[in-house]
Amino acid sequence: MTMWIAATALLSHWRRRPLQLGALLSGLALATALWSGVQAINAEARASYARAAAVLDQNGLAHLVSPNGRAIPQSAFVWLRRAGWKVSPVLEGEYRFGTTRLRVIGIDPLTMPAETQTVDLGNDEDLLSFITPPGTLVVSPETAEKIRGQTGLALRVSDRMLDGAAFIDIGLAQRLLRRDGELSRIVIAENQRPGLEPLGKLVPTLSVREPNAQTDVEHLTESLHLNLTAFGFLAFAVGLLIVYSTIGLAFEQRRPTFRTLRCLGVSLRRLAVLLLAELALFAVAAGAVGVAIGYLVASLLLPGVAATLEGLYGASVPGTLSLRPEWWVSGFAIALAGTLVSSAQSLMRLMRVPLLAAAQPQAWGRSSEKGRRLQVLAAAALLAFSGALLLWADGLQAGFGALGCLLLGAALLLPAVLSGFLTLMQRMSSRALVTWFWADARQQLPGLSLALMALLLALAANVGVGTMVSSFRLTFVGWLDQRLAAELYVAARNEGEADRLRAWLATKVESVLPISSVDAEIRGQPMQIFGVVDDPTYRKHWPLIVGMPNVWDRVASGEGVLVNEQFWRRERLRIGDRLDLASEWKATVVGVYSDYGNPKGQVMAGINALITHYPHVSRLRYGLRVPPDQVADLRSNLSDEFGLPAENILDQAALKEQSRRIFDRTFLVTGALNIFTLGVAALAMFSSLLTLSEMRLPQLAPVWATGVTRRDLALIELLRTLVLWLATFIAALPLGLALAWVLLAVVNVEAFGWRLPMYIFPYEWVRLGLVALAAAVVSVFIPLRRLAGLAPSELLKVFANER
């Protein structure tokens, strides 16, 4: 009963301050929403990789692989089977069915361990049709739709299959991929007979890859997930700032109630339990709302993230979200943990402060000089650490670490910088109201600093990520213009048609640029080798970053090759290094070209050298150079002459448009997260201003009494908020640019393997500034309206002796 009465007294505080309660719950709900939303996206993507790894890579079992990335001779498998080892061969490669490129996985259903059997070949008839010509492709329903009519192989649809991949019998795969007698890896079954000769002795040139090792896709996409996690954490932290600030004030305002309850016999322990129960109640309520919003956010963002993963890494992730119980539980847990962290300081203070200490809601908003000094020292240490990481550390984690330290350091430094600016302005002013304006802004600073820090982080993230994406887009568009130099792109349906096409085109166009490639493993990495003819188009347009003199002559002669930037950086190659391209083909790296949006390494060699070493290379696709005014005629002639479907003849403009669309879709999610973060920062600002407005009367009343109208005071308050906003916005610009630089010069290079030039987009800053200004005006609107409409009796209460 005592507990219930005490709880009623504590809860009555919120009934009298519904806006404060609203700020607390919405801060907590938003923090939970953005964090759990991002976690849901990451969990969905990772589950998808795990599924892909389990289904396509038999990742649950150990494998034998070639350490140098070369193909494994089939004889190794035969040798192991004869020695009694339960092993199964796998061959992988990419194959184009019409315009659809699939990852083809050749397996042997007879030897494949039962635990990794993903192809259901339950009866003899199914098995027979799978292993005998013409053979069967096992694909997902979506893939079946795409390649229907493009292949002579029978199609078997399986719901367990993933899009973009196909299982096929290994013998057929070797023929299809023209890799007779080659294997990519050998699966080792879990249960082996005892007493077998060790693998190290039987196949000393191969190494064992342990089960559940990180897949290539997981490794490649790590940066994006880290990026999303960082954004989620940023939003979570900003949300928690609101919670921290609201709880701190509420505790301070309720100190008289605490004192009364203690005097009436409620023990400190019981009071703490009640407050914890109250906070837990809020956390559960806000957590439920937050998780629901998080689910909505994740559902909205997941298609964008899936597009990003597909566009940047070639990773396939479904665009729909599954409801995972662990995700709901973790959402509630994070809400509870966040509440506890935000309220820890207030609870500790409650336990320590003497029973009769007076409440100091005004002093609560101020920080001590010592605290400020410590904050500046921490900021300097973080900024120095960020610089050290950028100078001396490598790797993606170091890049993100540097980013985190930079942002946090700058945020911690902001109150000191603003305080310095306001002091300077105060010293420069001589008129009474102007002096008070600056002095009062400085005094408000500690109470607003958390919100301003949140605003700084959100604005800097917007400027930084915006600059990165816009720089990327500008570079990408310029690069597309260079890369897609041919006016028309045509794809034949088979080699016979390709031969006829080449002969027909010889007299119809200025030049024919074959687009022929093979998949190969170079330095242990899956790569593509492209063959190019010696044509002025390449000499004039190809986007070379660095190259030897006479680079194109060297490529044409077959002596040299070009590599793409990501492979060059990943392998730390230098011009003049030698590469093994095939068993009898070594070539010198003579140049490097930019190749944005491609997750894989790529090599460009002379077409003749490619055909010599890979005689079965597919020669179905061509770029055609024709005067622009003849493109339409040529297109219709090609269609008439060869009956090619529309998707096999693409013009430059259509391809560019398609690429730009993919690019924009790829960065849609970044834009959405930016807006969310800015929204949370605006809420933080609103909540802080509202909180402060309740404590402003003792500061404003003496000025009002001395002869300044309430309307003028309200205008001054608006102006003060705008000045603080503007100063924060100005501080966010260099920070945002520093963030963009780290993203472009460090994180992107580590994550994608390419470095982009940085461009400045002041127009975008103006736009962002206006959005942030609107948010600031909205956030100050309610406190201002309250002030302008304040009855004199309210202001007079400040001076009342009974107060």
Binding site: A439, P792, F799
Partner: protein
């Protein structure tokens, strides 16, 4: 002619009076209903006069002071100051009146918390357009707060705060000083010292003083006393 002379004489007397309150009424809405705080107050104060306003808690002393200061409006009645009824002024005009004609000293929350002592003392004078550094220095010296000029209100004792508040009020040289329990938070010795300063300085500036106090001992030191009981003057 006799009538005209009579009217002229009345006008001259009224002009000499700094404050003339006529049938002043003020009430507030409370949870228990409408509460009449002032029930028809009539009071005249002459130029340079120093009057103590006494009464029990809740008798309406502070309300009366707030009305005279132009901080609030009466329900009815007139507040004629220097021949002008300030109850008829709009918000902006009343702000200008407070800025230029009145000086206020309260028991607490007198000072602007964000300004240091020097800026607080100059604040009202600057707003009133009567900033005079020489006069302010003299006040600082007489109030004995020269060592406190760079401190902020929260760093001062209550007695020091009240000295600064008096300094700020008198620095603007207002015609009328209104003080609401200015020594209420001080011990007897400090209270006496502060009041002594206030009386002597306001005499020096020729200001009229209306001082609200509970203390009969303090009231006795002023030129005149008026006592308020249940919203009416006795």
């Amino acid at each position: 002619m006799a009538v005209e002379s009579y009217i002229c004489a009345i006008v001259l007397i009224l002009a000499a009076m700094v404050i003339a309150l006529r049938n002043l009424r003020k009430s507030y809405e409370t949870a228990e209903g409408r509460l009449e705080v002032l029930r028809g107050i009539n009071l005249d104060l002459g130029a340079g006069e120093r009057v103590a306003l006494t009464g029990e808690s809740g008798s309406g002393k502070s309300t009366l002071l707030h009305l005279v200061a132009g901080l609030d409006r009466p329900d009815s009645g007139q507040i004629v100051i220097g021949g002008r009824d300030i109850s008829k002024l709009n918000d902006r005009e009343r702000a200008a009146y407070r800025r230029t004609e009145v000086g206020l000293v309260f028991q607490q929350f007198n000072l602007v918390p964000s300004l240091d002592v020097a800026a607080n003392i100059a604040f009202h004078a600057k707003l009133a357009g009567r900033h005079d550094t020489k006069w302010e220095s003299e006040l600082v010296e007489r109030l004995g707060i020269g060592a406190l000029l760079t401190r902020f209100p929260e760093q001062l004792s209550t007695g020091q705060q009240q000295r600064v508040a008096i300094g700020r009020t008198l620095a603007a040289r207002p015609g009328l000083v209104l003080a609401d329990e200015p020594t209420g938070n001080l011990d007897e010795a400090n209270g006496d010292a502060v009041l002594e300063l206030m009386l002597s300085l306001s005499k020096g500036t020729g200001s009229t003083l209306l001082l609200v106090t509970h203390s009969q001992r303090l009231a006795d030191r002023l030129d005149r006393q008026v006592h308020l009981r249940s919203g009416k003057l006795e």
